[in-house]
């Protein structure tokens, strides 16, 4: 007879693994990626490929030489970071900036904290914010969808809906006049608008989000709390003064909200552990997003909102414990 194993119970194991979760997320991002290729063409392909390749390379090298660990990158987490980072930048971003952003995302936001599972902040968002403050011009030049898709020339650029809104209001235009130039909700839903390459199409992101819900990779708590709180907050503002504040539907479909709510705020590593905590986290993201969009310096606030809430996660975990079985007042 062979040697038999003696180990503590349990002796069976569920079939969920880190790899399955991570590659499931990658799969869920495919619709948004395909849509980005449709709208932005070769720029979307190269940006995504470069970001994923640099994230993988950065993770491999840093794990091997800095953490002195087994440099296995097959868990898929670096692929997610790469894809998400590319989703958060314009498809026209110079390739070397994409590489720098990837190295920063993996190196500073992930490996410096100890690698997978130990980071406080979402690496892709840290990478995006690094790029935004370092290369503000390149990071806010948005190629016009469906223009010059397959040629390697400088693409036509145009504004994002949120940018249009912010600039218009700052220049003293009225909301009703501005609305004439803003894209239709149908275009915003499908994704035919200016923006980062992966954030434009609400429908593609929803599709991926539903897949992750179905597979149990994410739960409904964070996206629902996030989207509902944005809708409620902007709804109240719209109700108070519809000449100054645009309707909730616009806010839901514009910018990176959908991408943030389904793919970035839900990042397991950087979000709370309990359902209660997740709801608090989602509402915090929603409130901050609306505040930044309406009163901040930037037209878009999703990345900042999520990063700020990431910082609160340890506190939320302490404050919002699960309900214990047999919990009594003085027990």
């Amino acid at each position: 007879m062979n040697l038999i194993t003696v180990s503590g119970s349990p002796h069976i194991h569920g079939d969920q693994t880190v790899k399955k979760i991570m590659w499931g997320v990658v799969f869920a991002m495919l619709p948004a990626m395909l849509v980005s290729i449709w709208y932005f063409g070769i720029g979307a392909i190269t940006t995504t490929a470069i970001a994923v390749a640099s994230c993988l390379a950065a993770e491999y090298l840093m794990k091997r030489f800095l953490l002195n660990e087994d440099p296995d990158v097959s868990d898929g987490s670096a692929v997610i970071t790469g894809m998400l980072l590319s989703f958060n930048v314009p498809s026209s971003l110079p390739w070397w900036q994409t590489v720098l952003g990837s190295i920063f995302a993996i190196g500073v936001a992930k490996i410096a904290f100890g690698g997978l599972g130990k980071n406080l902040f979402n690496p892709a968002l840290v990478g995006r914010i690094f790029l935004l403050v370092s290369f503000p011009v390149n990071m806010t030049s948005w190629p016009v969808p469906l223009s010059n898709r397959w040629v390697l020339v400088d693409a036509l650029t145009g504004p994002t809906p949120l940018g249009q809104l912010k600039e218009g209001l700052a220049n003293g235009e009225t909301l009703s006049a501005l609305k004439m130039h803003l894209p239709s909700y149908q275009d915003m839903f499908m994704g035919q608008i200016g923006g980062s390459l992966g954030e434009v199409s609400a429908v593609a992101i929803l599709l991926g989000g539903l897949y992750m819900l179905y597979r149990g990779i994410i739960t409904w708590h964070i996206p629902t709390a996030y989207l509902l709180s944005v809708a409620a907050f902007t709804g109240i503002l719209y109700w108070i003064d519809p000449t100054r504040f645009i309707d909730p539907m616009f806010h839901l479909l514009a910018g990176g909200l959908m991408l943030g709510a389904f793919f970035m705020a839900t990042d397991m590593v950087t979000s709370p552990m309990t359902y209660k905590g997740m709801l608090v986290f989602g509402v915090g993201c929603g409130v901050l997003t609306v505040c930044i969009r309406n009163w901040g310096a930037y037209p878009e606030g999703v990345s900042f909102a999520i990063i700020i809430m990431n910082a609160f996660v340890p506190l939320i975990n302490k404050g919002f414990k699960p309900k214990r079985f047999g919990e009594v007042a003085n027990g």
Binding site: M1, N2, I4, T5, V6, S7, G8, S9, P10, H11, I12, H13, G14, Q16, T17, V18, K20, I21, D75, G114, G115, L116, G117, K118, M268, V269, T270, S271, P272, M273, T274, Y275, K321, P322, K323, R324, F325, G326, E327, V328, G331
Partner: protein
């Protein structure tokens, strides 16, 4: 269908030995009977080397309040009273008997006839259960008479009978219900009388539809017994979870079921009580499921206490080539054995033989803070946090995070996508915290 609310998991059923009729294991040449087959103080041997014993004779006497008598499972001559490695892997005092025939005490009624009437008074019932060495047959092996002694100031309202058998693979309770349903019912009425309660509820998970149907029809013949189908969810067979499922009552943290007016017994215990009270038969044999994916003939066996696990496995076609692990009990809470020499005891509900490829743990990765362990913990604890506190030896903090509420059901480790040994850390933490609490009291 009813079930408990917080947490829980759905491991694959794998009840491959279901509906296999109970088969009797031949009496072995030698039996090894540990004097500690129950929770609490070990029993004191009252026979010496060379003594001639009969089947059912008392050979070790319960010592103290939480303890249980041990009886000989065979007739023969005591070879020695010595330490033998038991299922826990430790050497424990055991009485080794060389078998010579099967000569039962004449006080034991060996007929198969059902005896319904019980004329004993409640006090006499409890005393007799004590005398016959009955312990919880679900695996926890808590001496049954202790549960029947209701503490001053408390009152039992319900007797709950556990027919859940939520551990994957195990089918001994299921088969017992199918074959000995009437005897179990009588056992329940005796327990009700002993406890002075009028209501008993039997909880059975919905993956045993035949047992639910049979028990429901049998319950109609008895006063105050009701049968309840429960939604399949592990660990529903845990005492506190079963009470929550059946009555929606929550036993407060650190308290016993009697706090909410309940006493819980296993169906196997109810059967043992029937035999003890109605047939004068001490607890010296039990039903054991012997199963596993590579086992030729997964079976439900009736075996004498002290028979070696190897003998039971031999009955099912022998130890498979690809064996990688032998577990006493179910796959979630059972104990892995270093070999099959250990004897079965009153608490052995099953022997699970696992193939090599399923025996090894997964490689451990970093915690990705997915929160699954928190979501599924049936006690509403935070296993990831408790494991970390335990790793850091922060015992006080682990205590204030209620590490002692953990019942070691293993759901957290089962679920963890990173394959982290959460329960290993929790066990270490629990034993250290208990130690600290004990020293504090002294």
């Amino acid at each position: 269908l009813k079930t408990f609310k917080i947490g829980g998991i759905h491991p694959g059923d794998n009840k491959i030995s279901a509906q296999q009729p109970i088969e009797v294991v031949p009496i072995p040449q030698t039996v090894y009977i540990p004097v500690s087959q129950h929770l609490g103080t070990p029993a004191k041997p009252i026979v010496e080397k060379g003594a001639i014993v009969r089947t059912g004779q008392l050979i070790a006497k319960g010592d103290g309040f939480i303890s249980a008598n041990v009886h000989s499972s065979v007739s023969g001559k005591v070879q020695k009273v010595d330490e033998v490695v038991d299922y826990s892997g430790y050497r424990r005092l055991s009485i080794v008997i060389d078998t010579d025939g099967d000569d039962w005490l004449e006080t034991i009624d060996r007929s198969q006839e059902l005896k319904k009437e019980c004329t004993l008074e409640p006090k006499e019932i409890v005393d007799k259960i004590n005398e016959m060495g009955i312990v919880g047959m679900g695996g926890a092996t808590f001496p049954s008479h202790v549960k029947l002694n209701i503490p001053q100031g408390k009152k039992a309202e319900y007797l709950l009978i556990n027919g859940v058998e939520c551990e994957p693979y195990l089918t001994s309770d299921h088969q017992l219900m199918l074959e000995k349903g009437r005897e179990i019912m009588v056992g329940i009425t005796i327990l009700m009388k002993g406890l002075n309660v009028t209501k008993a509820m039997i909880g059975i998970e919905n993956n045993k539809k035949d047992a639910i149907q049979l028990m429901t029809s049998l319950a109609a013949e008895f006063q105050g017994i009701s049968v309840h189908a429960l939604k399949v969810k592990y660990p529903q067979g845990a005492e506190k979870q079963l009470i929550k499922s059946l009555l929606n009552r929550e036993v407060p943290s650190g308290k016993l079921p009697i706090e909410v007016g309940c006493v819980v017994h296993n169906v196997g215990t109810a059967f043992a009580v029937y035999e003890a009270i109605q047939k004068n038969k001490p607890l010296f044999e039990r039903i054991v499921t012997v199963t596993g994916k590579s086992i030729k003939k997964p079976s439900n066996l009736l075996a004498r206490v002290g028979t070696s696990i190897n003998d039971l496995i031999a009955m099912t076609g022998g130890l498979p080539e690809d064996t990688g692990k032998i577990v006493s009990g179910g796959p979630m809470m059972g104990r892995a054995l270093s070999n099959g020499d250990a004897p079965i005891t009153k608490g052995t509900s099953g022997i699970l033989v696992m193939p090599e490829k399923e025996s090894k743990r997964k490689t451990t990765m970093n915690c990705i803070r997915c929160g699954s362990c928190v979501t599924i913990c049936p006690m509403g604890l935070e296993p990831y946090l408790l494991a970390k506190l335990s790793e850091n030896q922060s015992w006080e903090e682990a205590e204030s995070e209620h590490i002692l509420d953990c019942m070691e059901c293993g759901s957290c480790q089962y679920t963890c996508p990173s394959g982290r040994p959460l329960l290993d850390h929790l066990r270490v933490g629990k034993s250290n915290v208990s130690q600290i609490i004990r020293t504090r009291k002294n």
